[in-house]
Symmetry: C2
Subunit: 128 residues, 2 copies
């Protein structure tokens, strides 16, 4: 946990060429921005270690690492609000993936369509 980021790829099924491009944080995770593929709405932010990314890529189901529960979770496994993965991209720094999905039902555990629906901090009217 005190390690300043892990450069060593853990032994998972993830393609070593991909694993070698990841810049993990001190907990071995990359951020995962999840976006609805057709409406382009940003749905949520999740976290993935190598294994979660491997499972996401190989199963086509959005799979994350829960920092609070310290376990893998497949989105929708209990709620039924599954994510079919359409596209995954890695950013220029290697520390964030953009996961484009087809979301079934609400993406947020609160029942909202997205995790960003409820709390608007700023809305500029001069949207020219």
């Amino acid at each position: 946990m005190s390690d300043p980021g892990s450069d060593t790829a853990p032994d998972t099924g993830l393609d070593p060429a991909v694993a070698g491009r990841l810049k993990r944080n001190a907990d071995g995770l990359v951020a995962a921005i999840v976006q609805q593929h057709d409406t382009h709405e940003v749905l949520m932010l999740g976290w993935m270690d190598d294994e979660a990314l491997h499972r996401t890529l190989s199963t086509g189901r959005g799979t994350y690492w829960s920092r609070s529960r310290q376990e893998y979770w497949v989105k929708g496994e209990t709620s039924g609000h599954t994510q079919r993965v359409v596209e995954v991209r890695l950013d220029c720094d290697g520390d964030t993936v953009l996961v484009k999905v087809d979301q079934t039902g609400p993406a947020c555990h609160t029942g909202a369509d997205t995790c960003f629906d409820a709390d608007v901090l700023l809305a500029n009217s001069r949207d020219d």
Copy 2:
């Protein structure tokens, strides 16, 4: 750095009601997903502490905390590729903001339109 997240709002100009809803990581930061307001393209992921969020909200210019340089940076201050902030939303967990901007020029320091342009890990053809 070893603190498991800071619940105490630092003394900045950020509205205390907003600061009180933030769930900062061990470094005192929240993630900032930056999205082009009209095309809905995800441009980049940045990080903000309370002061960076305050500056973003009060100046309308995308302002972040550089984890590598340990300093604030206003997007476009050197490149001219500025971000006019249109909308800011906080997520259900309080640890991520969605910043909708009007981006001038490329958003990525590589010159690409977005930080997610170059590295496609998965592209499912059955996009039904």
